[in-house]
């Protein structure tokens, strides 16, 4: 993360241009479990993508492409939502 700005460097009113902001990695919130996928069972229903509170399911077009562990907080909702049991929580 960059050093803290001086008051002269701040944008007027605190407007943050989305493309210029750096997001903190909330993957550090996980407490020992992370989601893992068995692709042979994945049917690309995309429910895990929709339900993930941290937008941490990555897609390739409209195909499941993995988890973004930088942001996954380990809530297990994806594992619960997966209709085929393709997602399991495993030890880090």
């Amino acid at each position: 993360m960059a050093r803290l700005s001086t008051w002269q460097e701040l944008p007027a009113g605190g407007a943050v241009v989305a493309a210029e902001a750096e997001q903190p990695h909330t993957g550090g919130w996980r407490t020992g479990l992370r989601p893992d996928v068995d692709l042979s069972k994945c049917i690309n229903c995309l429910l895990c993508w929709l339900y993930c509170p941290d937008s941490a399911v990555e897609l390739d077009g409209t195909a499941f492409a993995g988890f973004d562990y930088d942001f996954c907080k380990g809530c297990e909702i994806c594992a619960e939502a997966c209709p085929t049991g393709a997602i399991e929580m495993v030890a880090e």
């Binding site: 605190g14 943050v16 909330t26 929709l50 937008s55 942001f71 907080k73 809530c75 297990e76």
Partner: protein, 315 residues
Amino acid sequence: MSRLKTLVRNQRGVPPLRGGHSLCQGCGIPVVVRTVLGTIQSPAVVVNATGCLEVATTRYPTTAWNVPWLHVAFENAAAVASGVESAQRALRRRHALRPGEEVAVVVFAGDGGTYDIGLQALSGALERGHRFLFVCYDNEAYMNTGIQRSGATPFAASTTTSPAGLESFGKAQRRKDMTAIAIAHHVPYVAQAAAVHWHDLSRKVERAVAARGPAFLNVLTDCPLGWGHEPRLSAQVLNAAVESRFWPLYEVVDGRYRLTYEPERPVPIETWLGLQQRFAHLVTDGNRQLVDEIQEQVDAEWNALLDRCADDGTS
């Protein structure tokens, strides 16, 4: 193409809400936001009332929003949105905007910023007929400040300002029917939804943004911390709300009521109550009559809703 794939395509590779925010592990709010914004085809601007969503997503200098986003205060999101909507209208009239799609104005507010402190501004905006979508993510208490009771908190729920104890069974008052209040403003579209029925929510969003005037969506949203359940059980809890008819899914289009989901085999209210710590004090012999009272309230409201749907020839 499946609706979910359409939601993905609508993003054009840029998620409207990205990770890196500090909403709780398993928070029920993002799925509401993602479903709403993913459904809207046109560009959108978000006006956010103070609350969990706003605070957790925009700690300077970060932002989880890839859409234009505006926060002013707690009670005035609908008034701020009125200003944005009026500006767009004025600038279009003067040909001062690049030709193109109209930008959808979407408000996200919690139940506090809708039912209580936000009620006046919302009422005014609805009455004036601004073309905007107001989405209440209703998790039934002031969660951001530590789970205090709001006008949306259900009867007998335990919160930090209506705690259950020897002398109290939790909130002594029934919750407001905010959806009915919105309907009373004669706006083109009002609906109740829950993200666990995401397809139903998405279709409602489509109809809401197509309306030529204000649209109000009341979306039941779980809060693992405030409701007292494991985050991973979110869908199970919300399903219990819908299947027990505690939270009916319906829409009102130009004043005509239509039920959009009817549980085949309604479950008893204990199923809904028993899944959450905030109702744990009810599951004792001494409080049996409260559970019965809640069941009666739910049944009465459900039957009244069915009557309204029947009157409108939609059931």
